[in-house]
């Protein structure tokens, strides 16, 4: 051809089309899904919820930027993953935790649990849970000092940090059962409803099953998560708790209590479903969910800690590569 001024077009390998999905959009969806729980946290725990969420989000984003800068890489904070980690870390903290300790958690989550491994996509463990466990081990007293939700001082004073403390329902049950005392509250329909809405002692983001389920419905609709992990996780807890209850009703709480108390909903819906640290295939995700459920119940029933969700998920994170290895899908054209 003779046309000299023919333009040179973009040349690249197929495909030339893309769904338009981005990591940023997925993270944004998770943030949107967490909004009901953020509102619930604020409603139940007032200023302290806002304080912890702000501190953790800012702490995580700043730590991420600082780490990336030190490593001489692009900042990568616009993928919003540090924001998600910040919110989830705050959700895993008791309302009275001092700000500096929360910041320590942010540094552990981002610097040690994430950036050391190479940043987003490379972390073997859920960063927010690593931070929670680090805080639990480092500051056991502060991490287990609870203040009741709807405390009258929640909007007026930061002082109730030193005020009357209580225990989480899982704590009370564990103490009562180990010492042989009666359970200090009666578990009935109205109590279960109170727990479902979120009016119970606990970490700021874990209390309201209602808010967490609303957000999870959004994530399912947006196809950011599938039912496989939460479904198998919760089903295993139901089955395990049900069997224990049937075998020995005096020493075990009903299934509904195990579902609503503690961090199970937060863990099953938002922490265990973290894409990077959970298996790739649906089959693998089912195994993983069952493992999380079993470990949670074993720790709750026989472990040293009243709550086992964090440890259960972290342990299953550790075996995720193994699960991936053994749940390779059956390839087209290969005989089984």
């Amino acid at each position: 051809m003779t046309e000299a001024a023919n333009p040179i077009y973009t040349v690249s390998s197929a495909p030339h089309a893309h769904s338009g999905d981005t990591v940023r959009r997925i993270m944004l969806d998770v943030i949107i899904a967490l909004i009901p729980a953020m509102i619930a946290a604020t409603y139940f725990f007032g200023w302290h919820a806002i304080r912890l969420m702000l501190v953790c989000v800012i702490g995580c984003v700043v730590t991420e930027a600082a780490c990336r800068k030190m490593m001489g890489r692009n900042l990568a904070i616009d993928d919003l993953s540090a924001v998600v980690t910040g919110i989830l870390l705050a959700f895993n903290l008791p309302p009275s935790l001092p700000t500096w300790q929360a910041l320590f958690g942010c540094i552990v989550a981002i610097a040690i649990a994430k950036q050391v491994f190479g940043g987003i996509g490379y972390n073997p463990f859920n960063p927010a849970l690593i931070a929670r466990v680090a805080l639990l081990v480092s500051f056991p007293a502060a991490m287990t000092r609870w203040h009741s939700p709807l405390n009258t001082a929640r909007w007026t004073s930061l002082g109730w940090i030193d005020g009357a403390t209580t225990a989480t329902p899982l704590d009370m049950v564990k103490t009562a059962i180990t010492s042989g005392d009666p359970i200090p509250f009666s578990w009935d329909g109205s109590m279960a409803m109170r727990f479902f809405v979120g009016n119970m002692d606990g970490c700021i983001g874990e209390v309201s099953a209602l808010a967490l389920l609303l957000g999870a419905a959004y994530l399912l609709w947006r196809r950011c998560i599938s039912w496989h992990i939460p479904g198998s996780y919760l089903a295993t807890v139901v089955l395990f708790a049900g069997i224990l209850r049937v075998l020995n009703p005096d020493a075990n709480m009903p299934v509904s209590f195990h579902l609503l108390a503690g961090g199970l909903m937060l863990g099953a819906l938002y922490m265990a479903t973290d894409m990077t640290t959970s298996p790739l295939s649906k089959k693998g995700q089912l195994f993983y969910g069952v493992g999380c459920g079993l470990l949670t119940m074993v720790i709750r029933r026989w472990g040293a800690y009243p709550e086992g969700v964090s440890f259960a998920i972290l342990l299953m994170n550790a075996v995720t590569p193994l699960i991936n290895q053994f749940t390779q899908p059956g390839i087209y054209g290969h005989k089984k």
Partner: protein, 453 residues
């Protein structure tokens, strides 16, 4: 004649935006003969054809200008009368260099050389028809360009019992096959009967995606009175890559082509509707394959159309026939956007496999800026072969081709579903295309070394 639905779902699939409405209602339009035709000698899979004309020769329409160079090769014919003005070498749409014959056309000369029509084909031996198809230069027009006479001559230990006619056209934008089925259903039906006769097969599936109801109806009507064959129009759900050979065999017959095998390993021959029509024309009318329908489309094309153009028409001529562009093109794709090849300019010319020419403006061009894999698992769900693209991609990126091979990279059909869905925009199938030839070469070398010992 029966009508059925797909036997099963694809193992993985995607639902891209199709944009077929741009051209699906545009009847096939024959474009005026361009001044010059640029005929690549490598329009098919296999050895390039060898020119048998010299610069300065005057040729007539249908005259053979290049002969096949081996069994897996086909000849090339002059689409119109004219004079050979140059024989050189140029890039094919696939980007590889191949000899090229430049023909200055003489549109007023309507003389033509045809082969004798074999209208009594049912009384002729199969070998004669296969030879005719080979002499007419027929190669797969769906995209791969595999010589048709080879497909129709399976070895005796691979009995064929089913023919699948691929009218899925699952690539976004393209409507050439769609229009062919509506406007040339009778010719396609004739071609189907010829294929059945050649392969001595009764059972035929015509596979069409359900977004082409007119084509489904047309093929039903055309096959309604087909005698001696057992034809089935199989309506497939609209999802990509429904038209991929292995996937189509699975959804129509339930059979799975074994890894590394061919459709004939499960008794099937798959042929694109355009190729079937070319078979009919070659046998019944003695016309060699010298033209094809190409969908020239894109939101920036002034009047997108399904253009019937002689082989060797430059993309520039196709675009100007369609009224030019309303905005600057940023990417030009030969074929569809999922598996087509991006072209550096419009100097490239059509071949027997050019099903479409898609022109994209800047805003529709996706730039793959890769982030690390976040393990979302979407590529696993999108993969129609059930591979784990995320893991294979990391193996390739790390240069660990042995691991890539053990993760069955060679089963990849390069459909692009994984890269399409990846939220990290990882160039997944791009990685596989890079590694596959190297892995194949390495295993061949290993086999050779073993043989030498």
């Amino acid at each position: 004649m029966r009508v059925t639905r797909a036997l099963r779902k694809l193992r993985g699939s995607i639902h891209p935006q199709y944009f077929k409405g741009l051209t699906s209602d545009c009847p096939i339009t024959e474009m005026p003969i361009p001044q010059k035709l640029y005929l690549s000698m490598s329009q098919h899979l296999g050895a390039p054809a060898k020119p048998i004309v010299a610069k300065g020769d005057v040729v007539t329409r249908g005259q053979c200008i290049a002969e096949a160079t081996g069994y897996i090769s086909v000849p090339i014919h002059a689409p119109v009368c004219g004079k050979i003005v140059d024989i050189d070498s140029a890039a094919t749409p696939a980007g590889t260099m191949a000899p090229r014959v430049v023909l200055e056309t003489d549109p007023d000369n309507t003389e033509s050389t045809t082969m004798s029509p074999l209208s009594d084909w049912q009384d002729r031996p199969q070998e004669e028809l296969i030879t005719r198809i080979s002499e007419a230069g027929v190669a797969g027009m769906g995209g791969a360009g595999f010589p048709t006479h080879v497909k129709l001559s399976p070895p005796s230990d691979k009995p064929i019992d089913t023919i699948i006619i691929n009218g899925a056209e699952c690539e976004p934008y393209l409507t050439a096959d769609h229009r062919l089925m509506i406007e040339h259903s009778k010719g396609i039906a004739d071609g189907i009967r010829m294929m059945c006769y050649i392969l001595n097969v009764k059972s035929v599936f015509v596979a069409i995606e359900e977004n082409k109801p007119e084509a489904i109806q047309a093929m039903q009507d055309a096959l309604a009175n087909a005698e001696k064959i057992d034809a089935t129009v199989c309506i497939l759900p609209t999802e990509y890559p429904q038209g991929a050979e292995k996937q189509q065999i699975a959804v129509t017959t339930g059979r799975e082509v074994p890894s590394g095998g061919l459709p004939m390993d499960v008794g099937c021959v798959v042929e694109n509707v355009g190729t079937v029509l070319a078979i009919a024309e070659a046998i019944e009318k003695g016309i060699p394959l010298t033209q094809r329908v190409t969908t020239v489309t894109g939101h920036i094309v002034k009047s997108p159309q399904n253009v019937l153009a002689p082989l060797g028409t430059t993309y520039a001529d196709l675009v100007s026939f369609c009224g030019g562009l309303t905005a600057e093109a940023a990417k030009v794709i030969s074929g569809g956007p999922m598996m087509g090849m991006a072209q550096p300019n419009l100097d490239v010319a059509t071949t027997k496999t050019t099903s479409g020419l898609v022109l994209l403006e800047q805003s529709r061009v996706h730039i793959y800026r890769a982030l690390p894999c976040i393990g979302c698992g979407r590529c696993l769900e999108a993969c129609p072969m059930n591979l784990v693209p995320a893991a294979i991609s990391y193996a390739v990126e790390g240069g660990d081709y042995d691991r890539a091979e053990s993760l069955n990279i060679l089963d990849c059909i390069e459909c692009g579903c994984c890269a399409f869905v990846c939220p990290s925009s990882r160039p997944l199938v791009q990685h596989f295309k890079l590694a596959k030839p190297k892995i194949i070469l390495k295993s061949r070398q290993a086999a050779d070394a073993k043989g030498a010992k």
